[in-house]
């Protein structure tokens, strides 16, 4: 649970700080550096440095290092000689900066959707566990049907049902709502299992006997029992939603082209000609891979339980 919370906190930090750390703006163009390859960091006695690239042939987009020239890190070098740590894309924009800027849209959306999913899932799950009867059956059955559906088909169909061009806040809200709609059943089922077991405990019975309201029992006694489960689920949901955003943007149904996100950058980079011409533009894919990999490695035991469908974890 502590690992899960730490991971989520780190992702929040990346979303907040990413754009602040970027050396260049997301749409800053360097016209002499279209498809420029990455400039690796080097070390010598005087510290870290890079070697700036000079355009050799504009049509062929070939570049050469200036021997003897020496530039510092991108943050300290004047913008006249750009230092592109991960190269540039087809419009001469710094891939490193765009990946950092994209973190905010991609992780931000994923975090918002995760918060919504946990909230709705915990509410419906604990409600079903406490109320029993028809409510319980309805919530679980609806969740079952939603869980069987192939997520992507539904996401794409729902997104396509909305107007294609929307203002940015509306897009974020729409995408988050779609993710929440598809994500809550798993959380609700997990919370339901815990609440059902917890509701038979003596301290809950005692609280009820002392006249505590159902709301108080739920918020004071039942939901705290789900903390560990919810923390782990939060850490597992974020990468899932990051990938969902990437897929939607790749299909042209996510963020519009102007918004830097890992998905829009990927849809730019992911044509065969672009990939063979400038493989470094796939950096956002690597960023996504890292987010998922770190989650998987840190939370492997929890993830296994998640895969095998058992709910209780901590």
């Amino acid at each position: 649970m502590r690992r899960a919370l730490l991971l989520v906190a780190v992702l929040v930090a990346v979303a907040v700080a990413g754009p602040l750390l970027a050396p260049y703006g997301p749409v800053t163009r360097f016209d002499d550096h279209l498809h420029a390859p990455p400039m690796p960091l080097r070390v010598d006695g005087r510290g870290l440095y890079t070697v700036p690239l000079r355009l050799v042939d504009r049509l062929e987009q070939t570049f050469a290092e200036d021997p003897g020239q020496r530039a510092g890190l991108p943050w300290t070098t004047p913008a006249a000689t750009p230092v592109l740590l991960l190269g540039a894309d087809r419009l001469g924009r710094d891939v490193f900066s765009r990946t950092l800027h994209g973190a905010r849209a991609s992780l931000g959306l994923a975090l918002v959707a995760t918060a919504g999913t946990l909230l709705l899932g915990a509410l419906l799950g604990s409600w079903a566990g406490l109320a029993g009867g028809v409510v319980e059956r309805l919530v679980l059955k609806a969740g079952d049907v939603l869980m069987v559906l192939p997520v992507l088909y539904v996401v794409v169909a729902l997104r396509a049902a909305l107007p294609l061009v929307l203002p940015l806040p509306a897009i974020v809200a729409a995408l988050a709502a779609i993710f929440v709609l598809l994500g809550w059943p798993r959380i609700a089922r997990g919370v339901w299992v815990i609440v059902r077991a917890e509701a038979r405990q003596e301290h809950v019975l005692a609280a009820t006997a002392l006249g505590a309201s159902r709301w108080r029992v739920m918020t004071r006694h039942l939901l705290p029992a789900c903390q560990g489960y919810l923390a782990v689920q939060a850490a597992l949901l974020v990468p899932m939603f990051v990938l969902a955003e990437a897929t939607l943007s790749y299909l042209g149904l996510g963020f519009p082209d102007g918004v830097p996100s890992w998905g829009t950058a990927l849809s730019d980079a992911a044509t065969i000609s672009a990939m063979t011409r400038a493989p470094w533009t796939l950096a956002p894919a690597v960023a996504m891979f890292l987010v998922v990999l770190v989650t998987n490695v840190l939370l492997e035991p929890a993830r296994e339980r998640h895969l095998s469908g058992a709910a209780r974890s901590g």
Binding site: V151, V156, A161, L243, I272
Partner: protein
């Protein structure tokens, strides 16, 4: 509950599920702003637009459209696609066969890789077991979108295999078949690798759980070697929970194949649905939804029935 009763019950609820999902798709397709005539607004006169809408049956109230569509469904007539100017039934059937080919091949490959590796990782503690575990953790972090892009990239860069499509066209007989086989590895692997990793993890866990159970210790106490105890006793028992998860994996398989089809230009159901949605082709969207829902229901139902046949505890509702 007998297996037959269980099977009938699952078939009925599967059919209801398919009908509900198909109906929702049609509703969704009608909620989409615009219809096939929208694109023609600028080019045609209002009378022609009205005629086009009447021809497609879009001038009727929704309930009439729905009733007609359900009636057509009973006769396997799902209307005409305005995008391809062909009957939806033919179009959807062709594309679904392509998706089925992709999904089944991927499922076979994933099973062939995942289960043996999972057995290895779950029953031993050596280097091979650790490697299998590390590999599947890494592969699990590469979802179909990224694995498809990566494989297409490799195929395009090296030229070993065609990077997209299902056939090169203009070929017949044996040459066509060989060409199809050459187009298969990229999309099938893109879809199968994450699935294989999932199966490996599930199988490893099931195997480890089973080995800890008393009957395995008992068979060791009777003098069976470790290998034999695992092979004869633990392995078959550990398969049951893994097979039980195939029903859930069918949905993941569909989702994955959607992305893979788009990235590798595989002419399957997912691509068709995407094109139909972009073109506001109402009846084609509904047709894709109907067939998708039927295949999904069939897949999960079959998996559940197979699971019940292997593991009778499912029938009594007390499987883990």
């Amino acid at each position: 509950m007998s297996l037959a009763r269980f099977a009938v019950g699952r078939l009925v609820s599967g059919a209801i599920f398919a009908l509900v999902v198909a109906s929702l798709t049609l509703l969704l397709a009608r909620l989409v702003p615009g219809d096939p005539s929208s694109e023609e607004q600028l080019r045609r006169s209002p009378e022609e637009i009205a005629a086009l809408r009447a021809e497609l049956g879009l001038d009727q109230p929704f309930l009439v459209q729905y009733a007609r569509w359900l009636g057509g469904l009973a006769r396997l007539d799902l209307g005409r696609s305005s995008l391809y100017r062909r009957p939806v039934t033919d179009l959807v059937g062709e594309r679904a066969a392509n998706t089925a080919l992709l999904a089944l091949a991927a499922l076979l490959v994933a099973t062939a890789i995942g289960l043996p590796l999972g057995r290895l990782a779950g029953s031993t503690h050596g280097l091979a077991s650790r490697l299998a575990r590390a590999a599947s953790l890494a592969v699990l972090s590469v979802p179909p979108l990224l694995s498809a892009l990566l494989l297409v990239f490799i195929a395009a860069r090296t030229g070993w295999l065609p990077a997209g499509g299902i056939t090169s066209g203009g070929l017949t007989g044996a040459a066509w078949f060989v060409d199809l086989l050459r187009h298969l590895p990229v999309p099938v692997l893109a879809l199968a690798l994450p699935l294989a990793a999932t199966l490996e993890r599930l199988q490893a866990r099931a195997m480890a759980d089973t080995i800890g159970r008393p009957f395995v210790a008992a068979s060791r106490a009777r003098g069976l070697a470790v290998d034999a105890a695992v092979r004869v006793h633990a392995w078959p028992v550990s398969l049951a929970p893994v097979l039980g998860s195939y029903g859930v994996l069918v949905g993941a398989l569909f989702s994955g194949s959607f992305v893979v089809e788009i990235v590798t230009a595989w002419p399957g159901l997912g691509r068709l649905l995407f094109d139909a949605l972009s073109a506001r082709d109402v009846w084609l969207v509904a047709g894709c939804g109907a067939l998708g829902a039927v295949s999904l229901a069939a897949g999960t139902t079959l998996a559940d029935i197979a699971h019940a046949a292997i593991d009778p505890r499912v029938l009594e509702g007390r499987s883990e």
